[in-house]
Symmetry: C2
Subunit: 524 residues, 2 copies
């Protein structure tokens, strides 16, 4: 229940019942881009205490922030979006959130029911726009229904792994009286693992040609420790998927490498395994198809054991597997704090990786959208101070800065380090303004290679060996080169530019020391 | 046919047949945001001459540029978008294009057909995302089908008024051999006007309580001249819809005021009319619904005569109406060049309007997304030098800068003047980079009121009389204030800031004189 039960006894309009019901269900953070049809919701936020409203200047920031918030808070925030086009602007990051298993409650304003048939300029098929990215979707039919619908949306969003729930509110359902407060409903309990699969999984994990492939909440510190015991006991290897919504790692934790992104590397990494147990992970496939290359990345003789999917109770499954493997008393191998001298000289993909290994602060949240520059970062930070690592699970670029916003709002006492390629950063660059406004402790490293570098490799992968000037030009961002320090300052963030490792380490220290966002343009 | 018929006799892959067929159909401009699944298209662009490829850093720029290009070139450009999320980023401006009647050919990459079932991270329901904004939608089934599908997409886009056509290309249909060049197909001819309605329309237009409401291509200079004859002959009034895709106006042209946006003003403007003839326009309705206010804006006793819709041959309909009204020999009233001293003092909504009236250059293209600041601009520029005026027809903000990109690409010999509110500009701010890269002659006025000013009015309109600090905060952009000159320079554009009318006039002159984009932050 909310603190202000008193006020909920007075007659409410639909918008007020929405805010009260969201608060009662534990949703107390809203990333908002409101428009006219959402004005009653804004008015309700104004006089009902308890909801933190964070303004964003583009809807993709709001939905990406919801994703980052869920990953760190383990509960959904809500977005507030203006009609179909506002929702559409948030769809790419909702796609990413959906693939990451992040729970999100979208509140989307709609024209008043009487207005929809008139086909006004902003009229669109909002349900149609929402459907491809929503697990749960509903338009409220009346002010009286809004409170109950909101509670159902939160319940849906809290389904494990988190779901995307979209609630469409015609503006008359917001402004009409008759709103009702609804009590929260518990989400469904996670599905249980299959006992038969447990036996098969325990038998399969035996020696270095067996692999336990982990995903989802199996990558929490506690669950990784159990996985580490199983690996130490059975001799199996541990890997995670290429993209993980959240992984706990660094010194003192069980290290898990990821299946690589480049297809040749992925094939090589998975070639040794003949028995692969999936625990919250999916069977490895290529990110893209390439002419003449396989899409299934595992060895053709590998047996795939589907033990438990991401919607299962992964902690219980790991416990059971540990027991069945007689691993409970085995000590896992933990990462050691890796201290080596800071790299010296120019900032390159390799030397930056070395700097990160030394400079990630204790308990930091690392948002990784470093794309090509970042390929070596993960391995080099295995022995860094303990930290949390977030990947893009949906592959739509522009996820990193918004997710950093949400993570910072969820964890005000932790430092956020955003590692972003320049091409990706431009997609949702407006995030910097919200970071400055909310004084979010985000240190942003922009890797300025002034190109869509990954696509140059992909051009070769799809069989184009000698791209000509027009093709190269379509993948180049150097004409003009973006001045990232001016960009950051234009939106109220501090910024500097470095091309040397010592300067990078110093700048990172300055970034972590300052309150609010700090952008470092790193020449690569 | 293309100039390089020779090369089309060699075996082609699907991507090459796409480029050749687009060129043969007259589509020679591509606004692109490619990804891996579009690499074969990029490779084809590389070695087939004739297609101008313009790189954008966010898909909303690409689709908005297609909209602006169509409005000025009167033929479609194509976008190149990466999978479902890339398309989703372009949906809001496709919504605007669809409402503006702008023809667009979207080329959207998809995973190879064999890869879709594997549910890779970037897999999504692309057709589902496209459907709400597409008049025409198809996924190519094979390399052999791509050329024919492209030609059909162009045909669909060229339907009057322009349609949004979305062609989805699984990457194997791009890289497989067997592509075929297809000849262009003519679009359907516009529907004819109803002869019975012509008689009714001609009878209705009689005196100042009758209105000829114009939309679509009725707002070309030639068609407006015919409308002006009809008005002069019959005594009827002329108005256009609030939002027009393109209107020719200024000195020497027939002036047409717009139905105002604020609901009270719209009701007052339409109150006098008892007979309203719709010619390419729709019956006036409110942009939004408001509690207790009407949605239909015309007088309850007004007779609405649906003469011809936007898909009709509006020029022929006007000619016929002129003949039926015996107006062919009547002289229309033309706007006089309005020369008055430049306003002096601080830049305000009113004084800026005065500056624009004097400073719009001959034959300029004015892209209007000035929202609240711009309410007085239209009337004040009636007697400016002849120019073209473009409005946002779909209401999704962030249309202006991308449309300016497309208009400038379509008309390299004309000056583009973009009038943009600061809230709107942030939505698609990445446009500035493409303007700098392509050296587009766009002078951008950013009206920096540091708020979503329109929403403050809307809060009152929906009945919130005394918004509190949290509501006001959700509509404020002043914490931090965006430094628009730094923003522009970060992307390679020249910029300055003015707060005085004389400085604004001087800055505009500098903007029109320089090659490439020039941004002027106007304090209001």
């Amino acid at each position: 229940m909310t603190q202000d039960t008193q006020s909920t006894k007075a007659p409410m309009n639909g918008a007020e019942s929405l805010v009260h019901s969201l608060l009662a269900s534990g949703v107390d953070t809203c990333f908002a881009n409101p428009g006219t049809s959402e004005m009653h919701f804004v008015a309700a936020l104004d006089h009902i205490p308890g909801m933190r409203s964070v303004l964003t200047l583009f809807e993709g920031i709001a939905t990406g922030a919801c994703d980052g918030y869920y990953r760190m808070a383990r509960k959904p925030a809500c977005s507030l979006l203006h009609l179909g086009p506002g929702l559409a602007n948030g769809v790419a990051n909702l796609h990413n959130a959906k693939k990451a298993g992040s729970g999100v409650v979208n509140i989307v304003g709609e024209h008043a029911s009487t207005h929809i048939a008139l086909d006004a300029p902003l009229t669109s098929d909002i349900q149609g726009i929402a459907r491809p990215v929503s697990h749960w979707l509903r338009s409220s039919a009346s002010a009286a229904a809004v409170g109950a619908d909101a509670v159902l949306a939160v319940q849906a969003a809290r389904t494990q792994p988190g779901h995307v729930a979209t609630l469409i509110l015609p503006s008359d359902t917001a402004w009409n009286d008759g709103g009702c407060l609804h009590e929260p409903i518990a989400p469904p309990t996670p599905t249980d693992y299959d006992k038969h699969a447990l036996k098969k999984a325990a038998a399969a994990l035996n020696g270095p040609d067996s692999l336990l492939l982990l995903g989802g909440s199996a990558l929490s510190a506690a669950n990784l420790e159990i996985a580490g015991k199983i690996a130490a006991r059975t001799g199996c290897e541990l890997l995670s998927e290429w993209s993980n919504a959240r992984m706990e790692r660094g010194a003192g934790r069980v290290a898990v490498a990821r299946v690589p992104y480049p297809i040749e590397d992925a094939l090589a990494a998975l070639a040794p395994y003949r028995r692969i147990v999936l625990l919250g992970a999916r069977a490895p496939i290529g990110f893209f198809a390439y002419p003449g290359k396989p899409a299934v990345l595992t060895h053709e003789d590998a047996e795939i054991i589907h033990f438990v999917q991401a919607d299962g109770d992964l902690g219980a499954a790991l416990q059971a597997l540990s027991q069945a493997s007689d691993a409970e008393q085995t000590a896992p191998v933990l990462s050691q704090r890796h201290t080596s001298p800071l790299p010296i000289g120019a900032t390159t993909a390799e030397s930056i990786a070395g700097v990160l290994g030394q400079c990630i602060p204790e308990n930091a949240i690392v948002v990784d959208e470093a794309i090509t520059t970042g390929r070596a970062f993960f391995a080099a930070t295995k022995g860094a101070r303990p930290h949390t690592w977030l990947n893009n699970c949906g592959g739509s670029i522009g996820y990193g800065l918004p997710v950093a916003v949400g993570a910072a709002v969820a964890c005000p006492d932790r430092k956020v380090l955003a590692l972003i390629g320049d091409g990706s950063a431009m997609y949702t660059v407006q995030s910097i303004w919200t970071m400055a406004r909310e004084k979010l402790d985000v240190t942003i490293l922009i890797f300025a290679n002034h190109s869509y570098q990954i696509l140059r490799g992909e051009l070769t992968n799809v069989g184009v060996q000698n791209p000509g000037p027009r093709a190269i030009d379509m993948l180049s961002l150097d004409r003009p080169a973006i001045d990232w320090t001016a960009m950051a300052r234009s939106m109220g963030a501090e910024a500097c530019r470095v091309d040397d490792c010592a300067d990078l380490a110093e700048a990172m220290e300055a970034g972590f020391a300052c309150q609010g966002p700090y952008l470092i343009e790193v020449t690569v």
